[in-house]
Symmetry: C2
Subunit: 348 residues, 2 copies
């Protein structure tokens, strides 16, 4: 409804470098990223020097930096896609945006390049409406409003804590689905943002997200690592787990989570058939994970995102730990993460 903006220095863009050469990725994003500070974390398993073109304002962190700050034992937590969480830990900004390094700017239906950063910021700065679904989508989008019947008392909305952007071209499928439908591409540009209703869970993807670090930063955590997890999104569910943690935290603390615009364009990477040979551990575990988060209730004692994560971790250990040791490890990681978050925050 109204124009909203933030200062450029209130934003960190966090990039997980899964490949050391970020030249083509950053050139594609130059017009959009160059105003902002970048935090680039090199996947600790990756060899070779980071290549970053000139003209960007950035800090880079490698395995040595991770080990220095958090000690060698925890470094494994930050491998692969999860290395970005180290950036979340170090950021001091109110807003964090993270986009996978195999994505380039998308074009809208008119062929105009999408400014994913501006759209994410807009999503975060305008209220979310989790308590009643607006059939014309986000009422705070330009030209939109609340539909007849929407209670006036709910029209001011609540703070939006997270914005989940989407992807054109390579859709975010699991390995079996991608292998079964190798030709399937997402070509549908849906010109909408919506608040995911309170108490509804969804599979958050970490490919293209933005969040308010002050509200929910501690809930954006690396904790659900599969034993044989690879370097392709379809081999992981770490971000899906994280998303459900954040959603539970938002529902409990009264924040909203939006999904929809902005899109990014995902380039092809990996071989789904090859991934299929690995175990589909993540796919199986979701059968336990989703009902768990759907029924998760936090106590009134949980007043911050840190408190919430600690309560969720305890429930994970108690209710899911007996099913598979991966859950016990996840619960332990969640507790460690909150300690790490507090330590880093106190130190600086």
């Amino acid at each position: 409804m109204s124009q909203v903006s933030v200062r450029d220095d209130e934003v960190d863009i966090v990039i997980a470098a899964i490949e050391p050469d970020l030249t083509s990725f950053l050139e594609e994003w130059r017009a959009i990223f160059s105003r902002f500070h970048l935090i680039i974390i090199k996947d600790p398993d990756v060899k070779g020097e980071l290549k970053i073109p000139g003209g960007f304002n950035y800090d880079t962190y490698t395995k040595a930096d991770i080990q220095q700050i958090i000690g060698p034992s925890n470094a494994a937590t930050f491998s692969g896609y999860s290395c970005r969480y180290f950036g979340y830990l170090l950021s001091k900004k109110k807003y964090i945006i993270s986009i996978d390094d195999d994505c380039i700017p998308a074009k809208d239906t008119k062929g105009i390049q999408v400014d994913a950063i501006a759209q994410h910021i807009n999503n975060l700065l305008t209220p979310a409406t989790p308590f009643f679904f607006n059939t014309l989508y986000d009422p705070f989008c330009k030209g939109a409003d609340f539909v007849r019947g929407y209670p006036f008392s709910l029209r001011s909305g609540v703070s939006c804590a997270l914005s989940c952007g989407l992807w054109l071209n390579l859709a975010d499928l699991d390995a079996p689905t991608q292998a079964l439908k190798p030709e399937l591409r997402n070509t549908r540009y849906v010109d909408a943002v919506l608040t995911v209703p309170a108490r509804a869970m969804m599979p958050l993807s970490g490919i293209n997200i933005a969040f308010d670090r002050e509200l929910v930063g501690p809930a954006l955590l690396p904790s659900f690592k599969l034993a044989k997890e690879g370097k392709f999104r379809w081999e992981t569910v770490e971000d899906v787990w994280t998303g459900m943690c954040v959603k539970v935290v938002c529902d409990h603390l009264g924040y909203g989570l939006k999904t929809g615009l902005p899109y990014v364009w995902r380039k092809e990477r990996g071989d789904a058939i090859e991934s299929l040979k690995k175990e589909w551990e993540g796919v199986k575990l979701m059968e336990e994970v989703v009902p768990f988060f759907q029924s998760m209730k936090l106590t009134p004692a949980a007043k911050t995102a840190e408190d919430c994560v600690i309560e969720i971790a305890a429930a994970v250990k108690e209710q899911l730990g007996r099913i598979d040791p991966v859950f016990t490890r996840a619960a332990d990681s969640m507790v460690e993460w909150v300690q790490l978050w507090k330590t880093v925050k106190t130190r600086t």
Copy 2:
């Protein structure tokens, strides 16, 4: 995912004639409607002969028919927009579609005329997914699928009981909002269908809907009439109330409700400033209505849509009746409606 279809004779299109001359309305829809049977109900308050162009397969009902079937005392229930409910009562078809007579076919972003009937049927025939939100919208749309992390056990979905279509041009605002923003028009064509998550409520609009009469027909009921309700959508909330009844029934019986495509184009009608002079009774009542439906829990004894409506009516009377007599009347109407539904069903 797969092609779905119904026989033409499984569908009734119910039209509420708020104006007696339906010529231009039906000419606009000729290519889309003419295969199907129409049930046309003339608003009992409207004077003048119904005008219906040739080439359509239809039955019409007027005030005399209503009085003959349900008796004179109840005829008032079917005035204005609510006269369509009389058509719902008489239909014997599995699927009912209803579109306001001030709407014409919309065009999609490519300028192609939307077949609202085909799209509604597709929404109803493909499963709904109310238990986990799919970030790429309806996974049963062409070219779509379930996003990574979506539990396989939930991918078969549930029956879709209702499809709520949207509107371009004149948006469906309440009178105060329309009066405050007289220039506001909905121009955003959002190319998506989604299942409203379980337990989330939304303002269903009756402008452009389709439903499975066998699953939820008895819950599509006329019961929430405002004393000074007029003939413009923005002066009513009857359909919004009905929508929340249906949603509670769907959540309880395990059906889904979809919203999004198809769009219709709403022509201008009425004067919002003039409507503002009436009481904003509906707007005020929503403050009580929404929390009521959000917290509504039915008992396991409610096994059919009829049972559910009776339970909701009892709760309305008990919890809302003391706030305003309009709620007591609504509760009584709901019970009468179910009796009427059963009587008509037995009789034929």
